[in-house]
């Protein structure tokens, strides 16, 4: 289950961050997303260590915390997507699938001529689409 989704810009600034939990631990999730940027940085700066990742935007599991798992995705324009999941059995394929759909939604949102690149994404349509994608996470494989 996905608990937090974030889009992070070039200066490691949050462009979009949304948590999907009932519990009020959004701040903690923000911290986790922020910390995970260190791992993304390390992977991007040492590409050799992490095998043949040429043109592979999916960064995989960034780091496990006590309850959460953090996955990363780096677009060609060096915008980072971070997803925080909870629950035991999260499969890589599901996460990849999620990122693909999320990327499409992001591309549509920033293609809006009224969107200024580098600014926060405030589109309501994007938010709705993201929450749909989050809700359907894992369903396809489970069903």
């Amino acid at each position: 289950m996905i608990v937090c989704v974030a889009v992070v810009g070039h200066q490691n600034n949050p462009l979009y961050i949304q948590s999907f939990t009932e519990a009020d631990d959004a701040l903690k999730l923000h911290h986790i997303v922020h910390c995970s940027l260190d791992v993304v940085d390390e992977r991007v700066n040492n590409p050799k260590k992490y095998g043949p990742t040429l043109n592979e935007p999916f960064l995989g599991l960034l780091y496990p915390t006590e309850n959460y798992k953090v996955y990363g995705y780096l677009t060609n324009t060096k915008v980072k997507f971070i997803v925080v999941t909870t629950g035991l059995d999260v499969r890589d394929a599901d996460v990849r699938n999620f990122f693909r759909r999320f990327h499409a939604a992001y591309v549509d949102a920033v293609s809006n001529p009224f969107h200024v690149p580098g600014k926060k994404i405030t589109s309501r349509t994007f938010a709705e689409r993201v929450s749909t994608i989050v809700k359907s996470f894992g369903l396809s494989s489970a069903g």
């Binding site: 810009g9 200066q11 490691n12 600034n13 949050p14 462009l15 979009y16 961050i17 949304q18 948590s19 519990a23 009020d24 631990d25 959004a26 701040l27 903690k28 923000h30 911290h31 922020h34 910390c35 940027l37 260190d38 791992v39 390390e42 040492n46 260590k49 995989g60 599991l61 960034l62 780091y63 496990p64 006590e66 969107h115 200024v116 580098g118 600014k119 926060k120 994404i121 405030t122 938010a127």
Partner: protein, 929 residues
């Protein structure tokens, strides 16, 4: 664990199992790490952790579980820490398996310390719960004190004293929990947590993993805050806040600022309290999707929302304006801004408080004349959530007499400011109200009398009686985006209404110098001549300004750039490496002042001069002469600048500068050339000429013991007439025993010869080489000349060293002998003499070509032998057939021994034929050659 005895009650049994597991795990991990198998160790730890983390146990003993978990992480972290020194290359290890890959963080101790701290926090929370539940903790102290670890690992027992005997008695679970709670109370978990997080924090800092480090720092800060150590907490929070500010994580920054604000409040520092509060109030948290959330771990900041920002804003302004009604501040008496305790905030270009107040200042022009007014636009922007009323604005410039104050017309003037700001212009504005994200634009005019740069340094806003914000002025052209807000999706507005000004506006303006009212004249005319002291008259005449402490600066600069000095050509002028040099500055004599001033000459260098100008009243003038000497023909730029102050002698007085420049050509006046001539119709065979035909660089060769003529000519290559005073040939001193004699042919000049441009002056010298030396030094040609302008001009000596010549003895000398002229029809004798000067027999072939103007008798071709040291004469009889200048038959001689052909020059064959015998008056005409 199957088959363990059921002797122990449930809780203690679990404790025992875990203790045993811990022991085993410790040993396995140590062994694995010792063997360098980090990957396996981490996998093993993960397995260990996975199998026990869910064995929480009964609710009243949960804290024991968390304590145990924390210990697992701590111990493994320490083991890794110790072994990581031995394992240099963790990252290259194959980590994990395909489906469960290990991240590199799991091989770093910091990760484990951080989690150990996390579990310890859980333990603390559970222990507190347990403590509040067990009201009876104190009663059982006596019983608990005697509980000791028993002989078996993980078991505890009560120690009973029965006289000298000790006996172990097993515990019930209830007793054990009581014991554990009491034990737990003894430890200060906060410090343990801080210590763990610090280890992690330091480790992350060493790895330069700043975000995780910051998270640890944040947790440490929170612990310190809860422990009441606000100073430690504040330091950590300050560091972290700067990272969050830089990366624009507003929600995290909000939380940290909340803590910082509380620290400042607890510490009683009003300034910081207000700074943090203002920053919080100006943070962009109202927009965005995820900011309306409620935090479970709500810090002192409260929820990040617009309402909360407004609340903070009201709090702060209540405090600074001095109104009471600050519920949270009231309890501390120190937190007041009064007359004795005024508050002054500085906002510079990197301050986070730029959000609170941003001042952009733009002059409407880039350059003005002194005392001319120009417009300045002052734009203020604030991101505070509520409208702010400013009582008074003070605009400060680097020239303090330009400062002015803008009063808010709606507020009564503040009495406190009236006396200390006296003398400054006071403007009044109908409204000084700052709305959120809306520029407040004010335009006023400014003028300055002082030339130079006029720059707006800061804008000071006064709100309330004792609160001021000094905001550094920024140019709209180079203004950076607001931090944090640059990521917000908001309407961007420009600080000035005129968009062009918003792009190019500057906070500084250049105020020009007053126009000079002094004329500077350079009076040189025409090109300079190399060698002379060229005089450039400089006239300073005042037409409106008096000249105080005037100073002339003179500069000579090569027109083509570069210096006047070229190292390659130094050998010719080793003493004097500058091609053009400033020789002196002379002041017309007869004035008393100039005598005083001459010792004020500061400097004259080769290409630079500094000269002081005496005091000149309005209307007076002064002149001096620059003497410049050229060593090489070369154009130079002469720059003369006069700096003076128009009003007083003070060194601080403003200087006015006048510049003049003049390009002066340097030209060669006299070109000296020379030529050697042998006796007419007599040609020696010079062997050196035969051998090196191609090499034209060879020095001239002269035959030995022959009289040669040296022709030195001096040509006027200047554009003005020159007077030539004399020409001599100087011997070089170093060569004392000269093997040749140079005789002057003719007298020295009695009176100077006038040379118009292009004209040549020639002088003849005779050179006879007498010695056996093969080299002959001729000497230096010296020409003394002067301009033909006035009698005053000093004479100039131009020297040119003539090249050395070779001397050799010719083996053969051929001379033609014929009368100086002939008469049509009259036969004459034409003799060719071949003289052999060697000790050898010379075989000589000769031939004579026919000439159409002559009838000839004699042999045309033959070979003759010339005996040593003798002369062979070939004799021909010629009868001229035509009159005028005619060519005699051409004669060719070939010396077989030297295989050298020889043909005399055309001039030697030329003869004039008179149609009839001429009748000369006076002396008889000689017939010999």
């Amino acid at each position: 664990m199957v088959g363990t005895s059921k002797r122990l009650p449930a809780i203690q049994r679990l404790v025992e199992i875990k203790t045993v597991a811990e022991q085993l795990h410790f040993k396995i991990s140590t062994l694995l790490l010792h063997g360098g198998k980090v990957g396996e160790a981490v996998t093993w730890f993960r397995q260990h952790n996975g199998s026990y983390r869910r064995l929480v146990g009964t609710p009243e003993a949960v804290f024991l579980h968390w304590e145990w978990m924390s210990r697992q992480f701590l111990v493994f972290g320490e083991l890794l820490d110790k072994s990581s020194a031995a394992i240099t290359n963790i990252s290259s290890l194959a980590l994990g398996t395909a489906d469960k890959p290990l991240s590199e963080w799991e091989s770093r101790p910091a990760y484990y310390y951080q989690l150990a701290a996390h579990y310890l926090k859980e333990k603390r929370a559970c222990l507190e719960l347990a403590l509040s539940m067990s009201e009876t903790g104190n009663e059982m102290d006596n019983g608990a004190e005697s509980v000791v670890p028993s002989a078996y690992v993980g078991q505890f027992a009560r120690l009973l004293e029965q006289g000298d005997e000790f006996a172990m008695q097993s515990l019930t679970d209830e007793e054990y929990i009581r014991f554990a709670v009491v034990e737990g109370k003894r430890f200060q978990d906060s410090y343990e947590i801080i210590a763990l997080l610090k280890k992690s924090y330091e480790s992350y800092s060493n790895l330069k993993v700043q975000r995780m480090g910051s998270f640890c720092g944040f947790q440490i800060g929170k612990e310190y805050y809860m422990a009441g150590e606000f100073n430690n907490a504040k330091q950590l929070f300050d560091d972290i806040a700067s990272l969050y500010r830089r990366e624009g994580w507003v929600t995290l920054l909000w939380e940290v600022l909340g803590y910082l604000r509380e620290c400042a409040r607890k510490y009683g520092t009003v300034k910081e309290l207000i700074e943090y509060s203002l920053e919080m109030a100006a943070l962009p948290v109202s927009s965005g999707t995820d900011t309306q959330m409620k935090y479970r771990e709500n810090g002192p900041a409260g929820p990040a929302s617009l309402a909360r920002r407004e609340e903070i804003h009201k709090d702060v302004f209540g405090l600074v304006i001095g109104e009471s009604g600050l519920s949270s501040v009231e309890r501390n008496d120190d937190l007041k801004i009064t007359l004795d305790n005024p508050l002054h905030l500085e906002i510079d270009l990197v301050s986070p408080l730029r959000l609170v107040l941003l001042a952009s200042v733009a002059f409407h022009e880039q350059k003005i004349k002194p005392s001319a007014p120009t417009l300045i636009t002052l734009s203020l922007l604030s991101q505070l959530p509520l409208t702010v009323e400013i009582d008074q604005l003070e605009v400060q410039f680097n020239q303090s007499n330009c400062n002015f104050i803008i009063m808010n017309a709606q507020r009564p003037p503040l009495a406190a400011t009236a006396d200390d700001k006296q003398g400054h212009r006071v403007e009044s504005s109908s409204s000084l109200t700052l709305s959120t994200n809306k520029w407040l634009r004010l335009t006023y005019d400014v003028k300055s009398d002082q030339s130079g740069k006029l720059e707006c340094t800061s804008v000071i806003a006064k709100m309330g009686p004792h609160f001021t914000i000094c905001c550094r002025a920024e140019s709209p052209a180079s203004m950076e985006d607001l931090p944090l807000f640059k990521f917000e999706d908001r309407v961007e507005t420009s600080p000035t209404k005129d968009p062009a000004l918003a792009f190019t506006g500057q906070k500084a303006i250049q105020i020009e110098e007053p126009d000079p009212q002094v004329d500077l004249n350079l009076g040189a005319s025409g090109p300079a001549l190399v060698g002379e002291r060229f005089i450039v008259p400089v006239t300073v005449s005042s037409v409106g300004h008096a000249v105080y402490s005037g100073e002339l600066k003179i500069n000579l600069v090569d027109v083509r750039g570069g210096s006047l000095f070229s190292p390659r050509e130094t050998e010719a002028y080793s003493l004097d490496s500058h091609h053009v040099e400033l020789v002196g500055i002379s002041v017309p004599e007869g004035k008393d002042e100039t005598q005083l001033d001459t010792d004020e000459i500061n400097k004259i260098q080769k290409s630079f001069g500094l000269f002081s100008v005496p005091f000149l009243k309005c209307g007076e003038s002064w002149s001096c002469k620059l003497e410049i000497k050229w060593h090489r023909p070369k154009p130079v730029m002469l720059y003369v600048s006069l700096g003076y102050s128009p009003y007083s002698f003070e060194s601080t007085a403003q200087k006015v500068n006048v510049h003049k420049s003049l390009q002066i050509e340097g030209k060669t006046a006299i070109v000296i050339s020379h030529r050697f001539m042998l006796p007419f119709r007599q040609d020696p065979l010079l062997l050196s000429r035969i051998k090196a035909v191609a090499d034209s660089d060879l020095p001239a060769s002269l035959p030995r013991n022959e009289t040669c003529i040296l022709l030195v000519s001096a040509k006027n290559s200047a554009e003005v007439p020159l007077k030539l005073l004399g020409m001599t040939l100087q011997e070089d001193n170093e060569d004392t025993g000269r093997p040749c004699s140079v005789r002057h042919e003719g007298e020295d000049l009695l009176e100077p010869a006038l040379l118009v441009p292009g004209e040549e002056f020639k002088k003849i010298f005779t050179v006879i080489s007498e010695d056996d030396s093969s080299k002959l030094t001729i000497g230096t040609a010296c020409v003394t000349w002067t301009r033909d302008s006035g009698s005053k001009a000093a004479s100039v000596l131009t020297k040119q060293t003539l090249p050395d010549v070779n001397v050799e003895s010719p083996p053969l000398v051929v001379s033609l002998d014929c009368p100086p002229y002939a008469i049509l029809g009259d036969p004459f004798t034409y003799l060719v003499k071949i003289r052999n000067q060697t000790q050898l027999l010379q075989e000589v072939k000769f031939s004579l070509a026919d000439a159409q103007s002559f009838v000839l008798s004699g042999s045309h071709n033959d070979t003759v032998f010339v005996l040593p040291k003798s002369e062979h004469i070939l004799s021909y009889k010629l009868v001229p057939l035509a009159s005028g200048v005619q060519q005699m038959p051409r004669f060719t001689v070939t010396a077989v021994r030297y295989s050298a052909g020889f043909q005399p020059s055309i001039a030697a064959y030329t003869i004039f034929i008179f149609p009839s015998k001429p009748h000369f008056k006076g002396a008889a005409v000689g017939t010999g050659g």
